[in-house]
């Protein structure tokens, strides 16, 4: 073996000079030149490769460096670029690419910050924004119980004439592990208070279309209840939600079970068990008042139960329709109603205790116009709410009243339509009314008038991430039994969204 190799080497050594001898001088020069060019060529190629490698390395850390931002389309290469070094986009041969390509960073939750501010003006010295949430109804546990608490301070309706900063909403969401998703939404108010809007976890893996959500969340009662203020089509909340459920709607701590059966049409059923700490629908008074007014202790939770069903037939590419029916029951509601008799200074307090029920019916129809930037899109949305509080008088300066039963029924309705009049521009019209039925029945029989308003707005969505809105409302609010306030209210609002891409939910 070694011998043959040696022989071959020797033969080569003898032959090599022979061939080179055969070559003439110019040929040698030519060969040398060829070698030189080849060397140069390869050096250049290697350099080019090194440059590409360095570029690829830079690109991986491009987010921090952002070395050469693309200024505009004009400064981009005139031809479509050739295949770029596939940085994060290389399909992984081992997994075959099960995942979703995303620029969301590794294990950090998706974060977005939404800023919501406005200029407000009404004809009654800025009192209007609060007044629309205090339309008269015979059962009014208004903020009495929560004075000085966070709820009262973080009121979406607390506007002054002039500039207002409603809130900065900070949202985090992520998949926790194979079993749960979770999200947290914080609202930071103008005064710097931080309010926990939502913080929940939700299952990912349950079979049969079941899902469980637990934590603090906006109930899926109705349609608009689960939307955050920046998702609304108008600056402010409609009268029925504002007056029957308060600034935050049904937002509570508890657990939700939903079931999406595999039926031919979209059908969703859900039930919720919630603690029941509500602003208006099922409030409880503090301990001192409970003893003073003989109302009894606050029950153990959960006190608030809801159930809802939604059905949405498939109407093809251009249309969508969803109808829903919802019910909520709070098995404890306490309130104190005050009155004074003519000619007397003393204020009389009647203590009421009982339970509260709420019915809701909602309908949403959408037309998708396929025009540029929302042009031609149309959305009609309407909900009816009916709140029934079944209360007993537990204490009263008028002894004969004690033990009597009074049922307080107040309902409300809103209907609104949004139309994309031009690319990025949408025009909205809303009518809302509270107190079509506004009465006390049972051992006391009284009926009151209603409050209503008309609202128009124009929304300019400059991009997916910013929105300007002008809104005008003509209000007719019943503020006391026989007293009305007519006023105009005007808003200019901005909403901007920083961070991860928002969801285009239904």
């Amino acid at each position: 073996m070694q011998k043959t190799a040696l022989a071959a080497a020797m033969t080569a050594a003898f032959l090599a000079p022979a061939t080179s001898v055969a070559a003439t001088d110019p040929e040698i020069a030519e060969l040398k030149a060829m070698l030189r060019t080849m060397k140069q060529d390869y050096e250049q190629r290697i350099q080019a490769l090194e440059r590409r490698l360095a570029k690829a390395e830079r690109a991986t850390s491009a987010a921090q460096e952002s070395a050469q931002p693309m200024n505009d389309a004009a400064s981009k290469p005139m031809t479509a670029p050739s295949v770029s070094p596939p940085v994060a986009s290389t399909p992984s041969p081992t997994t075959g690419g099960f995942g979703a390509l995303t620029s969301g960073s590794a294990f950090n939750p998706q974060i977005s910050v939404i800023l919501d501010g406005n200029y407000y003006h009404d004809g009654i010295d800025g009192a209007g924004a609060a007044l629309v949430g205090q339309a008269f109804q015979p059962s009014g546990g208004h903020a009495h119980a929560h004075e000085g608490e966070m709820d009262a301070e973080h009121s979406h309706g607390a506007m002054q004439n002039g500039f207002n900063f409603s809130e900065a909403e900070i949202a985090f969401s992520a998949t926790v592990d194979p079993y749960f998703d979770a999200a947290a939404y914080l609202a930071v108010t103008n005064a710097g208070d931080v309010y926990l809007e939502e913080a929940w976890m939700q299952t990912r893996n349950l079979p049969q279309g079941l899902r469980v959500k637990a934590g603090k969340f906006l109930s899926d009662f109705g349609y608009i209840n689960r939307q955050h203020p920046h998702q609304w089509d108008f600056v402010d909340q409609n009268l029925p939600y504002l007056n029957l459920l308060g600034d935050h709607g049904l937002q509570d701590t508890g657990i939700q079970l939903t079931w999406l059966p595999a039926l031919p049409v979209y059908t969703l059923f859900g039930v919720e068990a919630l603690q029941g700490d509500q602003e208006l629908f099922g409030t409880t008074l503090d301990e001192v008042e409970q003893i003073e007014l003989d109302l009894g202790d606050t029950y153990d939770g959960p006190r608030l139960w809801t159930a809802f069903a939604k059905v949405a037939p498939d109407l093809g590419q251009n249309h969508a329709l969803q109808v829903g029916v919802s019910y909520a029951h709070n098995n404890q509601h306490q309130e104190v109603q005050t009155h004074a008799h003519e000619g007397e200074d003393e204020v009389h307090e009647n203590g009421f205790a009982g339970d509260a029920s709420l019915w809701g019916v909602d309908l949403v129809y959408r037309y998708y116009g396929a025009g540029p930037q929302g042009q031609g899109d149309f959305k009609f949305q309407t909900e009816y709410l009916r709140s029934i509080k079944d209360l007993d008088v537990r204490s009263s300066p008028h002894g004969e009243l004690i033990g009597s039963n009074q049922t307080f029924t107040t309902d409300g309705l809103y209907a609104q339509a949004i139309y994309g009049v031009a690319p990025k521009w949408a025009l909205g019209l809303r009518y809302d009314v509270l107190g079509l039925t506004n009465e006390v029945s049972g051992d006391r029989d009284e009926s009151y008038g209603s409050s209503d308003r008309w609202t128009v707005d124009l929304t300019w969505s400059l991009s997916e991430f910013s929105q300007l809105r002008a809104q005008y409302a003509r209000n007719d609010i019943l503020v006391a039994e026989n007293e009305r306030e007519h006023f105009d209210a005007f808003y200019l609002q901005f909403i901007v969204s920083l961070g991860s891409h928002g969801a285009h939910s239904f």
Partner: protein, 296 residues
Amino acid sequence: MLKRLLLTFIGLVCLGNAWAAPLEVVATSSSMGALVRAVAGERATLSVLAGPDRDLHQLQVKPSMIRALRTADLVVAIGAELEIGWLPPAIASAANPAIQPGREGYFEAAAQVPLLDAGGAADRALGDVHPIGNPHVDLDPVRMVTIARALAERLARLDASGAESYRRAAETFASAVEQRLPQWQARLKNAPGVVLYHRDAIYLLDRFGVPLLGTIEAVPGVPPSGRYLSELAAKLKGTAGVIIFAPYQASKAPTKLARDLGWRAERLSLEPPLKADGNGYLAHLDLWVDAIAPRP
């Protein structure tokens, strides 16, 4: 009697199941639908969530989408954040663990091929940018072949009994593309170039070496200003080309630019018709080639 009825019913249900396609597939767009039809054929029942006239980036969640995803065995998306606004929330609402990203039932076309425009600055002053890369891979027939093969493998994992048929169908699609490529290359060889509204057809242009002469919008997702358009017109004055824009993009700017330059402006969907299969997809590419190819 009742027992016999019950037995007949059970029998019918079983038969029905036997006849039914083994897989239920949801495609986000009609190009992905065409690919599913090409690869899975009769072995999958297919629903397509968005028609070719829709902007896949702006689409909104509809309850009917959630319904379709609820029972799907596989969702086929273009991916790379194109459907970011609506597909993740729709999947999250569908209560179907099998189709969540990371599972076998989730397939992203863009995750199977190298992407263009990747690694740009994550700065929204530059518009609605997606540094992960340009997601519109479905207009490149060669990438679509890679995607079809990957899809066949995925379908084979979900439905092993059809593995052979999926792989065969993917190869049939591959050879159909291969057969057409030389014609397309020949026709587009001397194409003067294209002005697009958005950088959404660059995979096609890149594949056939057709120059992108500019975009109507200055930055992604933001309509152009008048000044930008007149600068663009001045820059392109005296050259040849064609302007192509999608049905959901405003026609005003493209038609004005076409008038100023004396060019054609063509409204052409990125996506094939809703009912397209593999051949429908190729026929749709023919339309693009017709639009771009130099006129005699």
